[in-house]
Symmetry: C2
Subunit: 279 residues, 2 copies
Protein backbone atom coordinates (compact mmCIF):
# COMPACT_ATOMS: atom_id res chain seq x y z
CA UNK A 1 0.00 0.00 0.00
CA UNK A 2 1.25 3.42 -0.88
CA UNK A 3 0.55 6.67 0.87
CA UNK A 4 1.32 8.77 -2.18
CA UNK A 5 -0.79 11.71 -3.14
CA UNK A 6 -2.96 9.69 -5.45
CA UNK A 7 -4.06 7.44 -2.64
CA UNK A 8 -5.67 10.17 -0.65
CA UNK A 9 -9.24 9.16 0.09
CA UNK A 10 -11.77 11.28 -1.75
CA UNK A 11 -14.47 11.14 0.87
CA UNK A 12 -12.73 12.76 3.77
CA UNK A 13 -14.81 14.83 6.10
CA UNK A 14 -14.21 18.48 5.48
CA UNK A 15 -12.34 19.16 8.70
CA UNK A 16 -9.92 16.33 8.39
CA UNK A 17 -7.50 18.12 6.15
CA UNK A 18 -7.04 20.97 8.55
CA UNK A 19 -4.35 21.60 11.08
CA UNK A 20 -6.31 21.53 14.29
CA UNK A 21 -4.19 24.03 16.17
CA UNK A 22 -0.48 23.71 16.55
CA UNK A 23 0.37 20.12 17.14
CA UNK A 24 3.10 17.95 15.80
CA UNK A 25 3.18 14.52 14.22
CA UNK A 26 2.72 11.71 14.12
CA UNK A 27 -0.77 11.74 15.52
CA UNK A 28 -1.80 15.18 14.66
CA UNK A 29 -3.74 15.89 11.55
CA UNK A 30 -1.19 18.06 9.86
CA UNK A 31 -0.89 18.02 6.14
CA UNK A 32 2.32 16.47 4.91
CA UNK A 33 4.24 17.46 1.86
CA UNK A 34 7.60 16.69 0.39
CA UNK A 35 10.54 17.16 2.69
CA UNK A 36 13.16 18.03 0.12
CA UNK A 37 11.58 21.35 -0.66
CA UNK A 38 12.46 23.08 2.54
CA UNK A 39 11.67 26.57 1.49
CA UNK A 40 9.08 28.14 3.67
CA UNK A 41 5.72 29.39 2.71
CA UNK A 42 4.29 30.25 -0.53
CA UNK A 43 6.22 28.84 -3.40
CA UNK A 44 6.68 25.15 -3.98
CA UNK A 45 8.92 23.41 -6.36
CA UNK A 46 8.07 21.51 -9.44
CA UNK A 47 4.51 21.42 -10.44
CA UNK A 48 2.79 18.57 -8.63
CA UNK A 49 -0.39 19.69 -6.94
CA UNK A 50 -0.58 19.34 -3.21
CA UNK A 51 -3.27 17.04 -1.87
CA UNK A 52 -5.20 20.14 -0.94
CA UNK A 53 -4.95 21.95 -4.23
CA UNK A 54 -3.49 25.02 -2.58
CA UNK A 55 0.14 24.70 -3.52
CA UNK A 56 2.63 22.67 -5.42
CA UNK A 57 4.92 20.12 -3.89
CA UNK A 58 8.15 18.76 -5.25
CA UNK A 59 7.89 15.07 -5.82
CA UNK A 60 9.64 13.29 -8.62
CA UNK A 61 7.83 10.58 -10.48
CA UNK A 62 9.90 7.69 -9.24
CA UNK A 63 9.24 8.38 -5.64
CA UNK A 64 6.71 7.15 -3.21
CA UNK A 65 6.03 8.02 0.35
CA UNK A 66 6.80 4.45 1.22
CA UNK A 67 5.00 1.96 3.36
CA UNK A 68 4.82 1.74 7.12
CA UNK A 69 7.52 -0.70 8.25
CA UNK A 70 5.32 -2.00 11.06
CA UNK A 71 1.82 -1.65 12.43
CA UNK A 72 3.02 0.37 15.39
CA UNK A 73 4.80 2.91 13.22
CA UNK A 74 1.85 3.28 10.87
CA UNK A 75 0.27 6.65 11.39
CA UNK A 76 -3.27 5.91 12.44
CA UNK A 77 -4.93 9.24 11.89
CA UNK A 78 -4.89 10.70 8.40
CA UNK A 79 -2.40 8.13 7.30
CA UNK A 80 -2.08 9.54 3.79
CA UNK A 81 -0.11 12.39 5.36
CA UNK A 82 2.75 10.25 6.61
CA UNK A 83 5.99 9.37 4.86
CA UNK A 84 8.03 6.24 5.37
CA UNK A 85 10.50 6.40 2.47
CA UNK A 86 14.15 6.06 3.35
CA UNK A 87 15.22 9.32 1.71
CA UNK A 88 12.92 11.38 3.91
CA UNK A 89 13.97 9.47 7.03
CA UNK A 90 17.66 10.02 6.31
CA UNK A 91 17.26 13.68 5.36
CA UNK A 92 15.60 14.49 8.66
CA UNK A 93 18.01 12.41 10.75
CA UNK A 94 20.96 14.10 9.04
CA UNK A 95 19.63 17.63 9.55
CA UNK A 96 20.32 17.91 13.29
CA UNK A 97 22.41 16.20 15.96
CA UNK A 98 19.62 16.57 18.55
CA UNK A 99 17.25 13.70 19.33
CA UNK A 100 14.86 12.91 22.17
CA UNK A 101 14.97 9.32 23.42
CA UNK A 102 11.97 7.77 25.15
CA UNK A 103 12.92 5.06 27.61
CA UNK A 104 10.86 3.49 30.37
CA UNK A 105 12.55 3.84 33.76
CA UNK A 106 10.77 2.92 36.97
CA UNK A 107 7.50 2.85 35.08
CA UNK A 108 7.81 6.37 33.67
CA UNK A 109 8.48 7.08 29.98
CA UNK A 110 11.40 9.48 30.46
CA UNK A 111 12.29 11.68 27.51
CA UNK A 112 16.01 12.47 27.36
CA UNK A 113 17.52 14.93 24.90
CA UNK A 114 20.77 13.66 23.50
CA UNK A 115 23.11 14.15 20.57
CA UNK A 116 22.99 11.34 18.02
CA UNK A 117 24.22 10.60 14.53
CA UNK A 118 23.38 8.25 11.67
CA UNK A 119 25.62 5.82 9.85
CA UNK A 120 23.92 3.98 7.00
CA UNK A 121 20.88 2.23 8.43
CA UNK A 122 21.58 2.83 12.13
CA UNK A 123 21.61 5.71 14.57
CA UNK A 124 24.08 6.02 17.45
CA UNK A 125 24.17 7.97 20.66
CA UNK A 126 26.33 7.85 23.73
CA UNK A 127 26.66 9.00 27.29
CA UNK A 128 28.05 8.14 30.67
CA UNK A 129 28.15 4.36 31.01
CA UNK A 130 27.03 4.76 34.62
CA UNK A 131 23.85 6.56 33.55
CA UNK A 132 20.63 4.74 34.23
CA UNK A 133 19.35 4.98 30.67
CA UNK A 134 22.11 2.78 29.35
CA UNK A 135 21.44 0.20 32.05
CA UNK A 136 17.87 -0.46 30.92
CA UNK A 137 18.04 0.38 27.23
CA UNK A 138 18.53 -3.11 25.93
CA UNK A 139 15.63 -4.58 27.90
CA UNK A 140 12.82 -2.76 26.13
CA UNK A 141 11.70 -1.23 22.87
CA UNK A 142 12.40 2.46 22.84
CA UNK A 143 11.55 5.48 20.72
CA UNK A 144 13.96 8.03 19.29
CA UNK A 145 12.37 11.17 17.88
CA UNK A 146 14.01 13.93 15.88
CA UNK A 147 12.12 17.11 15.12
CA UNK A 148 12.91 20.40 13.47
CA UNK A 149 10.72 23.46 13.74
CA UNK A 150 10.62 25.33 10.44
CA UNK A 151 7.94 27.93 10.90
CA UNK A 152 4.83 29.25 12.56
CA UNK A 153 1.86 29.12 10.22
CA UNK A 154 -0.52 31.99 10.86
CA UNK A 155 -3.95 31.11 9.55
CA UNK A 156 -7.23 33.01 9.45
CA UNK A 157 -8.68 30.91 12.27
CA UNK A 158 -7.07 29.60 15.43
CA UNK A 159 -8.03 26.08 14.44
CA UNK A 160 -5.98 26.29 11.27
CA UNK A 161 -2.94 27.76 12.98
CA UNK A 162 -0.12 25.34 12.46
CA UNK A 163 3.60 24.90 12.31
CA UNK A 164 5.95 23.89 9.56
CA UNK A 165 8.22 21.12 10.72
CA UNK A 166 10.08 17.93 9.88
CA UNK A 167 10.06 14.99 12.24
CA UNK A 168 10.94 11.33 12.32
CA UNK A 169 10.17 8.75 14.95
CA UNK A 170 12.22 5.57 15.22
CA UNK A 171 11.02 2.56 17.19
CA UNK A 172 13.02 -0.50 18.05
CA UNK A 173 15.42 -2.26 20.36
CA UNK A 174 18.72 -0.50 20.96
CA UNK A 175 21.92 -2.36 21.62
CA UNK A 176 25.05 -1.27 23.41
CA UNK A 177 28.34 -1.51 21.58
CA UNK A 178 30.90 -2.91 23.97
CA UNK A 179 33.86 -3.54 21.69
CA UNK A 180 36.26 -0.70 22.46
CA UNK A 181 37.81 -0.61 19.02
CA UNK A 182 34.39 -0.21 17.47
CA UNK A 183 33.43 2.38 20.05
CA UNK A 184 36.45 4.51 19.19
CA UNK A 185 35.75 4.21 15.49
CA UNK A 186 32.15 5.28 15.97
CA UNK A 187 33.02 8.18 18.24
CA UNK A 188 35.51 9.34 15.63
CA UNK A 189 32.76 9.25 13.03
CA UNK A 190 30.55 11.30 15.33
CA UNK A 191 33.11 14.03 15.93
CA UNK A 192 34.17 14.19 12.29
CA UNK A 193 30.56 14.38 11.19
CA UNK A 194 30.09 17.51 13.31
CA UNK A 195 33.38 19.06 12.18
CA UNK A 196 35.30 17.43 9.32
CA UNK A 197 38.71 16.14 10.35
CA UNK A 198 38.34 17.32 13.94
CA UNK A 199 39.13 13.95 15.55
CA UNK A 200 42.63 13.99 14.06
CA UNK A 201 43.30 17.45 15.48
CA UNK A 202 42.31 16.51 19.05
CA UNK A 203 44.35 15.12 21.89
CA UNK A 204 44.19 11.35 21.29
CA UNK A 205 41.50 9.57 23.27
CA UNK A 206 42.46 7.80 26.49
CA UNK A 207 41.49 4.22 27.11
CA UNK A 208 39.71 5.16 30.32
CA UNK A 209 37.59 7.66 28.41
CA UNK A 210 36.40 4.91 26.12
CA UNK A 211 35.62 2.65 29.08
CA UNK A 212 33.34 5.13 30.85
CA UNK A 213 31.46 5.97 27.68
CA UNK A 214 28.41 3.94 26.72
CA UNK A 215 27.53 3.76 23.04
CA UNK A 216 24.05 2.78 21.91
CA UNK A 217 22.91 1.88 18.44
CA UNK A 218 19.51 1.30 16.87
CA UNK A 219 18.23 0.42 13.42
CA UNK A 220 16.31 3.04 11.44
CA UNK A 221 14.15 0.35 9.86
CA UNK A 222 11.05 1.12 11.92
CA UNK A 223 10.62 4.78 11.06
CA UNK A 224 7.80 7.15 10.32
CA UNK A 225 8.06 10.78 9.30
CA UNK A 226 5.87 13.77 8.99
CA UNK A 227 6.71 16.96 7.19
CA UNK A 228 4.75 20.15 6.74
CA UNK A 229 5.78 23.04 4.55
CA UNK A 230 3.87 25.78 2.88
CA UNK A 231 1.31 28.47 3.54
CA UNK A 232 -1.74 28.20 5.79
CA UNK A 233 -4.59 26.00 4.65
CA UNK A 234 -7.75 27.72 5.73
CA UNK A 235 -11.36 26.73 5.43
CA UNK A 236 -12.61 27.81 2.01
CA UNK A 237 -15.02 30.34 3.43
CA UNK A 238 -12.34 31.85 5.67
CA UNK A 239 -10.32 33.17 2.74
CA UNK A 240 -12.84 36.02 2.67
CA UNK A 241 -12.00 36.86 6.28
CA UNK A 242 -9.83 39.99 6.39
CA UNK A 243 -7.09 38.89 8.81
CA UNK A 244 -3.44 38.66 7.78
CA UNK A 245 -2.23 35.12 7.12
CA UNK A 246 1.20 33.79 6.29
CA UNK A 247 4.23 31.97 7.59
CA UNK A 248 6.86 33.13 10.07
CA UNK A 249 9.91 31.05 9.11
CA UNK A 250 12.11 29.64 11.87
CA UNK A 251 15.51 28.05 11.53
CA UNK A 252 18.64 27.25 13.45
CA UNK A 253 21.34 29.86 13.09
CA UNK A 254 24.99 29.01 13.62
CA UNK A 255 26.84 32.10 14.83
CA UNK A 256 30.54 32.90 14.40
CA UNK A 257 32.74 30.68 16.60
CA UNK A 258 34.07 32.16 19.83
CA UNK A 259 37.63 31.16 20.64
CA UNK A 260 38.43 29.89 24.12
CA UNK A 261 40.52 32.61 25.78
CA UNK A 262 42.74 29.82 27.06
CA UNK A 263 43.79 28.79 23.56
CA UNK A 264 47.55 28.80 23.13
CA UNK A 265 48.98 31.92 21.49
CA UNK A 266 48.93 31.73 17.70
CA UNK A 267 46.34 28.95 17.71
CA UNK A 268 44.47 29.34 14.46
CA UNK A 269 40.91 28.23 13.98
CA UNK A 270 40.75 25.47 11.35
CA UNK A 271 38.46 26.32 8.43
CA UNK A 272 36.62 23.08 9.16
CA UNK A 273 35.11 24.67 12.29
CA UNK A 274 33.06 26.82 9.94
CA UNK A 275 31.65 23.71 8.29
CA UNK A 276 29.51 22.83 11.29
CA UNK A 277 25.90 23.26 10.32
CA UNK A 278 22.47 22.09 11.33
CA UNK A 279 18.90 22.52 10.29
Amino acid sequence: MSFGLASRPKNLPKRSKRGGFLHFPPWSNLESVDSRDRRHGIEFANGARSPFGKGKVSMSDDESRGEAPSERTRVKHYNWLARYDRKTVEDILDATPLAHVGCLMNGVPFVTPTFFWRENDRVYWHGAAAGRMFKVLEQQDICLTVSLLDGLVVARSAFNFNCNFRSVMLLGRAELIRDETVKVKKLRNFVNRLIPGEWERLRPIHEREVKVTALASMSIAEASCKVRIGPPLDDDEDYAFPSWAGVIPIRYQVLPPEADPRNLPDTEMPDDILKFHLG
Copy 2:
Protein backbone atom coordinates in the same frame (compact mmCIF):
# COMPACT_ATOMS: atom_id res chain seq x y z
CA MET B 1 19.40 19.88 50.98
CA SER B 2 20.61 22.43 48.50
CA PHE B 3 22.43 21.81 45.28
CA GLY B 4 24.08 25.20 45.25
CA LEU B 5 27.71 25.64 44.43
CA ALA B 6 28.78 25.35 48.03
CA SER B 7 27.34 21.89 48.29
CA ARG B 8 29.56 20.42 45.65
CA PRO B 9 31.38 17.44 47.12
CA LYS B 10 35.10 18.02 47.52
CA ASN B 11 36.23 14.50 46.90
CA LEU B 12 34.99 13.97 43.38
CA PRO B 13 37.06 11.81 41.13
CA LYS B 14 38.90 13.88 38.58
CA ARG B 15 36.88 12.80 35.58
CA SER B 16 33.53 13.55 37.09
CA LYS B 17 33.59 17.20 36.24
CA ARG B 18 34.08 16.60 32.55
CA GLY B 19 31.61 16.51 29.74
CA GLY B 20 32.01 12.97 28.54
CA PHE B 21 31.24 13.63 24.87
CA LEU B 22 28.15 15.39 23.70
CA HIS B 23 25.27 14.21 25.74
CA PHE B 24 22.37 16.05 27.24
CA PRO B 25 20.84 16.09 30.68
CA PRO B 26 19.58 14.95 32.98
CA TRP B 27 21.78 11.89 33.29
CA SER B 28 24.82 13.12 31.57
CA ASN B 29 27.67 14.58 33.51
CA LEU B 30 27.54 18.03 32.03
CA GLU B 31 28.49 20.95 34.14
CA SER B 32 25.60 23.22 35.01
CA VAL B 33 25.73 26.92 35.45
CA ASP B 34 23.23 29.67 35.89
CA SER B 35 20.54 29.81 33.23
CA ARG B 36 19.89 33.51 33.27
CA ASP B 37 23.29 34.28 31.84
CA ARG B 38 22.63 33.03 28.36
CA ARG B 39 25.62 34.53 26.68
CA HIS B 40 27.66 31.93 24.98
CA GLY B 41 31.18 31.06 25.70
CA ILE B 42 33.83 32.80 27.50
CA GLU B 43 32.62 35.53 29.79
CA PHE B 44 30.37 34.96 32.73
CA ALA B 45 28.51 37.46 34.72
CA ASN B 46 29.04 38.58 38.23
CA GLY B 47 31.94 37.20 40.09
CA ALA B 48 30.94 33.89 41.63
CA ARG B 49 33.39 31.16 40.79
CA SER B 50 32.08 28.18 38.92
CA PRO B 51 32.35 24.84 40.67
CA PHE B 52 35.17 24.06 38.29
CA GLY B 53 37.24 27.13 38.85
CA LYS B 54 37.38 27.85 35.14
CA GLY B 55 34.81 30.57 34.81
CA LYS B 56 32.42 32.74 36.67
CA VAL B 57 28.73 32.14 36.87
CA SER B 58 26.04 34.64 37.60
CA MET B 59 24.26 33.74 40.78
CA SER B 60 22.87 36.29 43.16
CA ASP B 61 23.17 35.69 46.85
CA ASP B 62 19.50 35.11 47.47
CA GLU B 63 19.26 32.30 45.00
CA SER B 64 19.59 28.61 45.28
CA ARG B 65 19.49 25.89 42.75
CA GLY B 66 16.53 24.50 44.62
CA GLU B 67 15.75 21.03 45.83
CA ALA B 68 14.52 18.07 43.86
CA PRO B 69 10.73 17.95 44.13
CA SER B 70 10.73 14.15 44.19
CA GLU B 71 13.11 11.25 44.28
CA ARG B 72 12.42 10.39 40.66
CA THR B 73 13.25 13.89 39.44
CA ARG B 74 16.42 14.07 41.48
CA VAL B 75 19.39 13.89 39.16
CA LYS B 76 21.27 10.80 40.27
CA HIS B 77 24.61 11.36 38.64
CA TYR B 78 26.53 14.47 39.57
CA ASN B 79 23.55 15.88 41.33
CA TRP B 80 25.25 19.15 42.23
CA LEU B 81 24.93 20.06 38.56
CA ALA B 82 21.15 20.11 38.47
CA ARG B 83 18.78 22.96 39.12
CA TYR B 84 15.28 22.72 40.49
CA ASP B 85 14.45 26.34 41.28
CA ARG B 86 11.21 27.69 39.86
CA LYS B 87 12.80 30.62 38.05
CA THR B 88 15.00 28.36 35.95
CA VAL B 89 12.11 26.00 35.23
CA GLU B 90 9.88 28.85 34.05
CA ASP B 91 12.59 30.54 32.01
CA ILE B 92 13.25 27.41 30.00
CA LEU B 93 9.57 26.54 29.57
CA ASP B 94 8.88 30.07 28.36
CA ALA B 95 11.73 30.12 25.85
CA THR B 96 10.19 27.82 23.24
CA PRO B 97 6.76 26.46 22.27
CA LEU B 98 8.25 23.05 21.39
CA ALA B 99 8.12 20.14 23.83
CA HIS B 100 8.54 16.39 23.53
CA VAL B 101 5.99 14.31 25.43
CA GLY B 102 6.79 10.77 26.54
CA CYS B 103 3.74 8.56 26.82
CA LEU B 104 3.51 4.80 27.03
CA MET B 105 1.35 3.37 24.26
CA ASN B 106 1.12 -0.35 23.63
CA GLY B 107 4.14 -0.84 25.84
CA VAL B 108 6.39 1.56 23.93
CA PRO B 109 7.49 4.94 25.36
CA PHE B 110 6.51 7.06 22.35
CA VAL B 111 8.06 10.52 22.14
CA THR B 112 5.76 13.01 20.44
CA PRO B 113 6.83 16.56 19.57
CA THR B 114 4.11 19.06 20.29
CA PHE B 115 3.58 22.74 20.89
CA PHE B 116 2.87 23.63 24.51
CA TRP B 117 2.64 26.68 26.70
CA ARG B 118 2.84 27.54 30.39
CA GLU B 119 0.33 29.38 32.56
CA ASN B 120 1.47 29.90 36.14
CA ASP B 121 2.30 26.49 37.59
CA ARG B 122 0.93 24.35 34.76
CA VAL B 123 1.78 23.51 31.17
CA TYR B 124 -0.82 22.90 28.48
CA TRP B 125 -0.81 21.20 25.10
CA HIS B 126 -3.50 20.14 22.70
CA GLY B 127 -4.21 18.06 19.66
CA ALA B 128 -6.83 16.01 17.88
CA ALA B 129 -9.20 14.56 20.46
CA ALA B 130 -9.28 11.36 18.41
CA GLY B 131 -5.51 10.93 18.72
CA ARG B 132 -4.34 7.97 20.71
CA MET B 133 -2.12 9.97 23.04
CA PHE B 134 -5.04 11.80 24.55
CA LYS B 135 -6.88 8.54 25.14
CA VAL B 136 -4.21 7.11 27.42
CA LEU B 137 -2.68 10.24 28.89
CA GLU B 138 -4.65 10.30 32.10
CA GLN B 139 -3.95 6.69 32.98
CA GLN B 140 -0.21 7.00 33.56
CA ASP B 141 2.57 9.28 34.69
CA ILE B 142 4.17 10.95 31.72
CA CYS B 143 7.23 13.06 30.97
CA LEU B 144 7.34 16.38 29.14
CA THR B 145 10.79 17.56 28.12
CA VAL B 146 11.79 20.92 26.71
CA SER B 147 15.30 21.48 25.40
CA LEU B 148 17.12 24.26 23.65
CA LEU B 149 20.44 23.83 21.92
CA ASP B 150 22.66 26.86 22.49
CA GLY B 151 26.02 25.87 21.15
CA LEU B 152 28.59 23.28 20.18
CA VAL B 153 31.50 23.25 22.62
CA VAL B 154 34.73 22.38 20.85
CA ALA B 155 37.23 21.08 23.39
CA ARG B 156 40.82 19.90 23.08
CA SER B 157 39.81 16.26 23.46
CA ALA B 158 36.82 14.40 22.06
CA PHE B 159 35.84 13.39 25.57
CA ASN B 160 35.42 17.00 26.61
CA PHE B 161 33.44 17.98 23.54
CA ASN B 162 30.09 19.19 24.74
CA CYS B 163 27.09 21.29 23.97
CA ASN B 164 25.63 24.35 25.57
CA PHE B 165 21.96 23.85 26.24
CA ARG B 166 18.99 24.47 28.49
CA SER B 167 16.54 21.72 29.32
CA VAL B 168 13.76 20.94 31.70
CA MET B 169 11.99 17.66 32.34
CA LEU B 170 8.53 17.56 33.91
CA LEU B 171 7.08 14.40 35.38
CA GLY B 172 3.54 13.88 36.52
CA ARG B 173 -0.01 12.95 35.71
CA ALA B 174 -1.68 14.99 33.00
CA GLU B 175 -5.37 15.74 32.96
CA LEU B 176 -7.68 16.57 30.11
CA ILE B 177 -9.70 19.73 30.30
CA ARG B 178 -13.20 18.97 29.12
CA ASP B 179 -15.05 22.16 29.98
CA GLU B 180 -15.45 23.91 26.65
CA THR B 181 -15.46 27.41 28.09
CA VAL B 182 -12.17 26.72 29.81
CA LYS B 183 -10.79 25.12 26.66
CA VAL B 184 -11.56 28.21 24.61
CA LYS B 185 -10.02 30.45 27.22
CA LYS B 186 -6.84 28.39 27.30
CA LEU B 187 -6.54 28.18 23.52
CA ARG B 188 -6.92 31.94 23.38
CA ASN B 189 -4.06 32.26 25.85
CA PHE B 190 -1.97 29.96 23.68
CA VAL B 191 -2.51 31.91 20.48
CA ASN B 192 -2.05 35.29 22.15
CA ARG B 193 1.13 34.10 23.80
CA LEU B 194 2.59 33.30 20.39
CA ILE B 195 1.37 36.55 18.83
CA PRO B 196 -0.09 39.23 21.10
CA GLY B 197 -3.74 40.00 20.37
CA GLU B 198 -3.91 37.52 17.51
CA TRP B 199 -6.96 35.64 18.82
CA GLU B 200 -9.09 38.78 18.55
CA ARG B 201 -8.07 39.27 14.91
CA LEU B 202 -9.00 35.72 13.85
CA ARG B 203 -12.25 34.32 12.56
CA PRO B 204 -14.10 33.40 15.79
CA ILE B 205 -13.74 29.79 16.82
CA HIS B 206 -16.52 27.34 15.94
CA GLU B 207 -18.05 25.12 18.58
CA ARG B 208 -17.21 22.01 16.56
CA GLU B 209 -13.56 23.05 16.50
CA VAL B 210 -13.51 23.15 20.27
CA LYS B 211 -15.18 19.75 20.48
CA VAL B 212 -12.62 17.94 18.32
CA THR B 213 -9.69 19.50 20.16
CA ALA B 214 -8.25 17.79 23.20
CA LEU B 215 -6.52 19.96 25.77
CA ALA B 216 -4.10 18.45 28.29
CA SER B 217 -2.65 20.09 31.36
CA MET B 218 0.08 19.10 33.79
CA SER B 219 1.65 20.64 36.87
CA ILE B 220 5.22 21.88 36.69
CA ALA B 221 5.81 20.91 40.32
CA GLU B 222 7.93 17.86 39.53
CA ALA B 223 10.63 19.48 37.44
CA SER B 224 14.36 19.20 37.01
CA CYS B 225 16.58 21.34 34.81
CA LYS B 226 20.06 21.32 33.47
CA VAL B 227 21.83 24.21 31.88
CA ARG B 228 25.29 24.50 30.41
CA ILE B 229 26.88 27.68 29.20
CA GLY B 230 30.45 28.74 28.77
CA PRO B 231 33.68 27.68 27.15
CA PRO B 232 35.10 24.16 27.02
CA LEU B 233 36.33 22.63 30.25
CA ASP B 234 39.35 20.60 29.36
CA ASP B 235 41.60 18.41 31.44
CA ASP B 236 44.24 20.59 33.04
CA GLU B 237 47.08 19.00 31.11
CA ASP B 238 45.22 19.39 27.80
CA TYR B 239 45.40 23.18 27.88
CA ALA B 240 48.94 22.75 26.60
CA PHE B 241 47.64 20.83 23.59
CA PRO B 242 47.77 23.04 20.50
CA SER B 243 44.30 22.44 19.02
CA TRP B 244 41.75 25.23 18.62
CA ALA B 245 39.02 25.23 21.26
CA GLY B 246 35.94 27.37 21.64
CA VAL B 247 32.19 27.55 21.25
CA ILE B 248 30.09 27.59 18.10
CA PRO B 249 26.91 29.36 19.23
CA ILE B 250 23.56 28.10 17.96
CA ARG B 251 20.20 29.78 18.25
CA TYR B 252 16.77 29.88 16.73
CA GLN B 253 16.36 32.59 14.13
CA VAL B 254 12.95 34.00 13.28
CA LEU B 255 12.95 35.21 9.68
CA PRO B 256 10.76 37.93 8.14
CA PRO B 257 7.13 36.80 7.80
CA GLU B 258 5.94 35.68 4.37
CA ALA B 259 2.42 36.77 3.51
CA ASP B 260 -0.01 34.21 2.17
CA PRO B 261 -0.55 35.11 -1.52
CA ARG B 262 -4.25 34.49 -0.90
CA ASN B 263 -4.50 37.36 1.59
CA LEU B 264 -7.20 39.84 0.63
CA PRO B 265 -5.94 42.93 -1.19
CA ASP B 266 -4.79 45.66 1.18
CA THR B 267 -4.44 43.22 4.07
CA GLU B 268 -1.79 44.70 6.29
CA MET B 269 0.40 42.63 8.54
CA PRO B 270 -0.20 43.57 12.18
CA ASP B 271 2.93 44.71 13.98
CA ASP B 272 2.23 42.02 16.55
CA ILE B 273 3.26 39.36 14.03
CA LEU B 274 6.80 40.65 14.45
CA LYS B 275 6.60 40.02 18.19
CA PHE B 276 6.74 36.26 17.78
CA HIS B 277 10.01 35.04 19.19
CA LEU B 278 11.59 31.93 20.58
CA GLY B 279 14.87 30.78 22.03
